[in-house]
């Protein structure tokens, strides 16, 4: 064991003093974490710029209703509202501001918005009431007394008189201008439509909703998207470090004769393999710590690995560094060994769905993902770290455990300690 410790420390120092080693093991993963974390919604959510031009002005001031409407839009977080003065011609405005030319979104509130809306609303309310009378009469008339029916008929008469007093109105029409190539315009338009619907309901007096959607998450804690993907990133980079890192270290030490020098000492082959696996495992834990600290500082991620997570990380590090030892042990040429390492690690990294939801990929790709060890590694790690659900991780534990055992056996079998 003393010799394992010494060789482990030697490998560790050798790694720490190598700039490329540090870069590929730590800086490269952190760079990717930063990129993916930002792209897949780490910090603040997206906002859409929306210009509003309000023509509904009375005595030089916007009408009450149009003000309320704009305030409601403004209160929606994803909108960034900018008001355009009615004197501006939107066509020239768009052309004069080249930055808006292809992603302008302008909502035009027409003149008479308040008056028309209120008029329409009034006639609709009356209509609803008349309809209600009719509905009651038709469905429940047979159960009603003669005098009640009489009262209802009178009431309806009165409403009809009222209707004549309300100026006729067709309601108001808002105009939404957007470039047809603007992908976000659709989203903005549908949000606008739902705002208008809610407004319509309010105006006709429907306060209570019959159907509501409550947004809830399965994850209890307050989590960001980066929280969700962090275990995937950690798993992916433990995998690349194991497969690519161990491969290049082993093949280089084999090429330059250091392995031969060690093989000539009384150091047993098993100690050599153990030292390498141990070094990769420590590296995996260091990487996990660095990624978590980094994600916490930059993205406010709160996930922490528990004992199960650490155990799975250990198993993963053993499995993937054993693959590295196999490649480094089989392929003689350093360049070819490194190439083989990348050829395995990179496709696995992207195919396994470590960086994005598996559901985003076509179903045949999902089947491929489920054949890759990395899938089980990141899936298990996510179940433990984020969903706090270690009982769901028994399949990943089983798969990774078996793979680790198989790979380390192959690595031991394949590593040459003679005839080097």
């Amino acid at each position: 064991m003393r010799s394992v410790q010494s060789v482990f420390l030697a490998l560790m120092k050798e790694w720490m003093r190598s700039k490329t080693g540090i870069f590929f093991s730590f800086l490269f993963p952190l760079m990717l974490l930063l990129i993916f974390g930002t792209v897949f919604g780490g910090t603040g959510s997206t906002t859409y710029m929306l210009h509003v031009q309000n023509f509904d002005v009375k005595n030089g001031e916007a009408t009450e209703l149009s003000k309320i409407f704009i305030n409601v839009l403004d209160s929606i977080e994803i909108f960034e509202i900018k008001e355009l003065d009615p004197s501006i011609d939107v066509n020239t405005y768009v052309k004069e501001n080249p930055s808006f030319e292809y992603n302008y979104r302008i909502l035009i509130i027409p003149e008479g918005f308040e008056q028309n809306t209120q008029g329409k609303s009034m006639s609709m309310r009356i209509g609803v009431m008349t309809d209600t009378f009719t509905y009651i009469e038709e469905n429940f008339g047979s159960y009603m007394s003669e005098s009640d029916l009489q009262t209802m008929a009178e009431g309806r008469e009165e409403l009809n008189e009222w209707t004549k007093l309300v100026p006729p109105s067709e309601g108001s029409e808002l105009t939404f201008l957007a470039d047809e190539t603007d992908m976000s315009a659709m989203a903005v338009r549908s949000i606008l439509e739902s705002v208008v619907n809610a407004f319509n309901n309010q105006l006709i007096g429907v306060e209570e909703q019959t159907i509501t959607i409550t947004a809830e998450s399965l994850v209890e804690k307050n989590m960001t998207a980066t929280d969700y993907y962090l275990p995937g990133y950690i798993a992916a980079f433990i995998m690349t470090n194991g497969i690519m890192g161990a491969t290049s270290v082993i093949s280089e030490l084999r090429r330059n004769g250091t392995v031969k020098r060690l093989a000539a000492t009384p150091l047993p082959k098993s100690s050599w393999i153990l030292s390498n696996v141990l070094q990769q495992t420590v590296l995996a834990f260091m990487l996990t710590a660095v990624m978590i600290i980094f994600a916490r500082i930059i993205f406010g991620v709160s996930a922490l690995p528990n004992l199960y997570a650490l155990l799975l990380i250990f198993i993963g590090a053993v499995a993937f560094s054993s693959i590295g030892m196999i490649l480094g042990g089989v392929i003689k040429d350093v360049e070819a060994a490194n190439g083989a390492g990348s050829a395995i690690a990179f496709p696995m990294m992207f195919l396994s769905g470590a960086f994005w939801p598996l559901e985003m990929m076509p179903s045949y790709m999902q089947s491929i993902a489920k054949c890759l060890p990395l899938y089980y590694f990141h899936d298990g790690l996510r179940n433990i770290m984020i969903l706090d659900n270690p009982s769901q991780a028994y399949v990943p534990f089983l798969v990774m455990g078996v793979l680790a055992a198989v790979f380390i056996c192959i690595a031991t079998k394949i590593t040459k300690w003679k005839e080097l």
Binding site: S6, N256, T265
Partner: protein, 308 residues
């Protein structure tokens, strides 16, 4: 007769198409520097690596320090110090770290300071291995071989690829080892090196050990005699004198050379040559290992170890 530390008998290493080592037998005695000399690909490294337990022989047997090569591998490994061909250590570890790593593997208390001072590396102890010159790297290799205080050292082509200055440095190291009482097994394709450093040598070509003997005996038996050359104006006259004492006289444009089997014969010719007066120069060339190899193998070996 001194104690045998290595006994090799009929060692064979057969690869698919080539026999790298072909029925090689020799002994190495305690305290001597033994060299295996031959061109590249002759089987030197294969032989050494079999004795270092880094390769398994196809057939034959050997005892190293009294232990059987096939059954007592770990006992042998514990007791020998090695420096492989084109030796390398952990590149970014310092001299001291590399040496002490080996000590820890052998589980010995390292006399690091002593060993590094003996080889003039104490000042460079904190320098990383890859930043050292080739000569210094080889010395680190020797330190790593010495740190476990082995009885027997294997140095496989310790000077190959070094510049002449570093080679001389390395020779001094090997002489130091001999003074320390170590037994050294050296391989080399530099004939002068073998002549300078070894007590005994074996000549190996194409996997076959042609001859093994003390360097002195090899030279006197296979060196091909003493050459006497005369350069200058009086070569015609000199040629006549040389021809009186030997049949082997060669004439070039302004140089004439006579080859003599013994020093006695040469001295007679020399006595007469010195009577000729001025205007010429006499050169006496004693045979060396180069000549031994040329005589035995029918070829010479160039600086890079290739047959010419």
């Amino acid at each position: 007769m001194p104690e045998k530390v290595v006994e090799v008998e009929n060692l064979v290493k057969q690869y698919k198409t080539v026999t790298a080592v072909d029925r090689v037998s020799f002994d190495i005695y305690k305290g001597e520097v033994f060299s295996l000399v031959g061109p590249n690909g002759a089987g030197k490294t294969t032989t050494v690596e079999i004795l270092e337990c880094l390769r398994t022989p196809t057939s034959g047997s050997a005892k190293v320090l009294g232990f059987d090569l096939l059954n007592e591998e770990m006992e042998i490994k514990k007791r020998i110090g090695i420096m492989p061909q084109e030796f390398n250590a952990f590149e970014r570890l310092t001299v001291k770290e590399n040496v002490e790593l080996i000590a820890k593997i052998y589980n010995v208390k390292p006399e690091t300071k002593q060993v590094l001072e003996d080889l003039g590396l104490w000042e460079a102890r904190n320098r990383q291995f890859h930043k050292l010159s080739g000569g210094m790297q080889r010395r680190v290799g020797v330190c790593m071989a010495l740190i476990s205080e082995p009885e027997l050292l294997f140095l496989d082509e310790p000077t190959t690829g070094l510049d002449p200055h570093a080679r001389r440095e390395c020779w001094e190291v090997i002489r130091t080892l001999k003074k320390m009482g170590k037994t050294v097994f050296l391989t080399s394709h530099y004939m002068d090196e073998v002549g300078q450093l070894s007590d005994r040598a074996g000549v190996i070509v194409n996997g076959k050990l042609i001859v093994t003997n003390t360097v002195h005996d090899l030279i006197s038996q296979h060196g091909g005699g003493i050459k006497v050359s005369v350069k200058g104006r009086k070569t015609k006259e000199a040629e006549k004198i040389l021809q009186q004492f030997t049949k082997n006289v060669f004439h070039d444009t302004d140089i004439v050379t006579g080859k003599f089997k013994t020093r006695q014969e040469a001295s007679k010719a020399l006595a007469q040559l010195y009577q000729m007066g001025d205007g010429y120069r006499i050169e006496i060339i004693e045979p060396n290992m180069d000549d031994v190899f040329a005589q035995l193998a029918g070829h010479r070996v160039d600086e890079r170890g290739e047959l010419i």
